[in-house]
Subunit: 275 residues, 2 copies
């Protein structure tokens, strides 16, 4: 009898050399980055993993600097409700984050931490991939919350013909429009009422949660859409919201929420792995 | 064209629900627990992972409490050089740790953190599995450092007939013998010189680093061993030290360093997953 049978077998791809990344949020069990972003690392042959990391709301400010100081942790993804609170811990902010003052991805660089807001970039990339000319479009954006504001900034960076921001909370829509006007003074941007006729636009984007987990809810008080519109809904669950069912029935160019993910994951990993 | 092709594929077994464990040390790249202990989780069908976590020596005391406060982190493994420094952060210490004042495995329980010292238990389990009767043995233990002291405590818990502790640093051997005598007043334990004749013992254990990465070095100034001895060497690299080659040549019961791992991993996971 030798001792050989006691040598434990290893599992595939975690070792002492594996570099750490984490997605930080509260709660955490629902996040998908551990699978999706880790998969992108695996695909690129990078020995790294994205952990779910649950920091509670009441402890975030004292725990977060310690998490950033873990020596073999190279980057972080930030989710609800910390996108605003994580920003002040950064040494530098990327161009999107400088406008939104929120961050979704943080990278530990040689000269310190940099944070950027990627939530809007995936939306723009999805539109571009589906042939939508953002640069010359009249865009109606529904929702001026965290995701809506980030998408508004990403759209504005592409210099559309016009951008109208609609939110049931009128002051929130006005604040988002004001933020965009400050950052992009040349742009035709304004808050607008939900009673606006979507047929007067080229692109209609729902960035509000209306329709999430409720396939009968619709973010616009209408029951038909004209076919020239490109219609996107960032709601991912259900995959096909009432808004998108209407758009499909009308023969529109329809862009699903899940389409934001693919190019966003790739851009996020590029950002995370830049030194 | 649908958006389906943009849905990223997931990797196997990390998700937002995966529970976290980490091994903390400085340096970290050489540790094996991420593979071995994670493998044991996988084998038991537990959705958990052991990360390598590098905290630097100068930051340990301020970062460690924050790591313990990560909400979805349920336990920690401690390696060089933090086995002593981690102990004061525990609410309770297990029986081995109460004597050594060092910890190797920490578990987050409902009533707070408990730390235990497992380094010696694997040695005793390996001896038992190879038919060595520790309870009635005259034992010679070479090495009174961190590993040696932990093994001395684990051996003493089994009430051997006698225990002699040998170390080139005589005061260290004396301190270890004193610690054991305090904890086990009935036990025949003493520090001893390396010139002691190993043939007068039943069990010889090398818990010193002599022989590590040097297959010509031997922790005892001898060139033969009598066959009645059980000889164990905790050195794992090389697998077969000069001491073990001599013991094999003499026909002894030979126990390899790697044999400590198997039962230790299982006991560690039992401890980590107790609520």
């Amino acid at each position: 009898m030798t001792g050989d049978q006691f040598a434990p077998q290893s599992v595939d791809y975690i070792s002492g050399k594996t570099r750490l990344f984490a997605i930080v949020g509260d709660p955490i069990a629902q996040v998908r980055s551990p699978e999706f972003v880790t998969h992108e690392f695996v695909k690129r042959g990078i020995d790294a993993i994205v952990l779910p990391m649950h920091l509670t709301v009441d402890r975030f400010d004292d725990l977060f600097p310690a998490v950033m100081a873990i020596e073999n942790l190279d980057g972080l993804i930030i989710t609800v409700p910390f996108k605003k609170r994580a920003a002040p811990f950064m040494r530098r902010l990327g161009p999107q984050a400088q406008i939104t003052r929120t961050v979704s991805v943080l990278s530990k660089r040689r000269d310190g931490w940099i944070g950027e807001m990627f939530d809007g970039l995936g939306c723009v990339a999805a539109l571009r991939r589906r042939g939508v000319q953002v640069a010359s479009a009249r865009i109606m954006l529904l929702g001026a919350g965290g995701a809506g504001a980030a998408i508004a900034v990403a759209l504005a960076s592409q210099r559309p013909k016009s951008l109208r921001i609609v939110d049931p909370d009128v002051s929130r829509a006005a604040a988002a429009a004001h933020m965009i006007a400050q950052a992009f003074p040349e742009l035709d941007v304004a808050a607008a009422a939900a009673s606006l006729d979507p047929d007067l636009f080229d692109v209609l984007i729902n960035a509000s949660p209306v329709g999430m987990l409720d396939s009968d809810a619709c973010p616009l008080p209408i029951d038909r859409i004209s076919p020239h519109l490109a219609v996107m809904d960032i709601v991912m669950m259900p995959d096909e919201t009432r808004l998108l069912r209407m758009a499909t029935a009308a023969g529109c160019n329809v862009i699903y929420g899940r389409e934001m993910l693919g190019s966003q994951v790739s851009a996020v990993v590029d950002f995370l792995t830049t030194k």
